[in-house]
C-alpha cells in the first residue's frame, strides 16, 4: 500500500478521535463520560504530536496530561459528589447562545486559517527532539525554565494551603 495513503488514514483516524472525544466532553450529560472522553482527546493529541515529529512532547503530554491532570479531574469529579450519587448528571445553561458563539468562532477561525499565508521557512525534518530540547532549556530558554520552577513551587504551596483541612 502506498505509505502516504496509510499515513493519511491514520492521521484522519486520530484527528476524528480527538475532535469527536472533545465533542463528547462538551455535549455529554454525564460527568464521567465527559472525563473519559477527555482521556481520549488527550491521547489523540499525543498521537498528533507524534505525527508532527514531537516525540518528547508526546511523551510529556501523556505523562502530565493523562497521568496527572486527568487523574486530578477525576478526583475532582469524585470528591465533589456525595458517595451515593451514582448519576453524576450535569446541566447546561444557555445552550443555544453558547452554540451560536461556538459556531461563530469556528467559522471565523476556519476562514482565517484557509486564507492566511503562514510563515514558510520550510519544514522541520523529523528528528528526535529530546536532546535538542534539553539543550535549549539550558541555553535560550533558561530564564523561563527557572521561572517555571519557582512558579510551580508557588502554585504547589497555594493549592496545598487551600485544600488543607482546618487544624483542630
Amino acid at each position: 500500500m502506498d505509505p502516504t495513503a496509510v499515513a493519511q488514514v491514520i492521521f484522519y483516524f486520530f484527528a476524528v478521535l480527538t475532535v469527536a472525544s472533545a465533542a463528547i466532553v462538551v455535549f455529554s450529560s454525564s460527568l464521567i463520560y465527559s472525563a473519559f472522553a477527555l482521556l481520549f482527546t488527550f491521547f489523540g493529541v499525543a498521537a498528533l504530536y507524534v505525527f508532527l515529529g514531537a516525540d518528547f512532547l508526546a511523551a510529556t503530554q501523556l505523562v502530565i496530561y493523562v497521568g496527572g491532570i486527568l487523574i486530578l479531574l477525576l478526583f475532582g469529579v469524585m470528591l465533589t459528589h456525595k458517595l451515593y450519587d451514582l448519576d453524576l448528571k450535569t446541566e447546561t445553561f444557555q445552550f443555544f447562545p453558547g452554540f451560536l458563539v461556538m459556531a461563530a468562532v469556528l467559522l471565523t477561525l476556519t476562514g482565517v486559517i484557509s486564507k492566511t499565508q503562514w510563515v514558510s521557512r520550510g519544514e522541520r525534518p523529523l528528528n528526535p527532539t529530546t536532546i535538542a530540547i534539553g539543550l535549549l532549556f539550558m541555553r535560550e530558554y533558561i530564564l523561563p525554565f527557572e521561572v517555571a520552577s519557582v512558579f510551580l513551587l508557588v502554585a504547589l504551596i497555594g493549592a496545598a494551603m487551600i485544600v488543607r483541612r482546618r487544624r483542630s
Binding site: F51, L57, T60, I69, L73, T90, A148
Partner: protein, 101 residues
C-alpha cells in the same frame, strides 16, 4: 498530503468546542475540561507551526511550558473547587451567587 492546515483545523475545532464547554457548562469541573481543550488546541497550533512553518523547536518548547502551566492551573483550580464544595456542598456555578450585589 497532510499539511499545516489540517492540524490548524483540528485545533480550531478543539478551541471552539472548548469555548462552548466553558460557556454552557454549569459544573465547575466541566468548565475546567473546556479550559483544558482550549489549552490543548493552542498547543497543537504551536507544534504544527513548529514543524511546517517555522522549522525550529521554538513551538515545541513553548508547548512544553504550556503543559507545565496547564498542570499548575488545573491543580489550583481543583483545589479551589474542592474548597468550595466543602462549604457549599455543590460545585454548580449557579450556586455561586452570594456575591451579587
Amino acid at each position: 498530503m497532510i499539511g499545516l492546515n489540517h492540524y490548524l483545523f483540528v485545533s480550531a475545532a478543539l478551541f471552539s468546542l472548548g469555548v462552548m464547554g466553558v460557556l454552557t457548562r454549569k459544573n465547575a469541573v466541566n468548565v475546567l475540561m473546556g479550559i483544558e481543550l482550549i489549552l490543548n488546541s493552542a498547543n497543537i497550533n504551536l507544534v504544527a507551526f513548529s514543524r511546517y512553518s517555522v522549522a525550529s523547536l521554538d513551538g515545541q518548547i513553548f508547548a512544553v511550558f504550556v503543559i507545565i502551566i496547564a498542570a499548575a492551573e488545573a491543580a489550583v483550580a481543583l483545589a479551589i473547587v474542592l474548597s468550595m464544595y466543602r462549604i457549599v456542598k455543590s460545585v454548580n456555578l449557579d450556586q455561586a451567587d452570594t456575591l451579587k450585589g
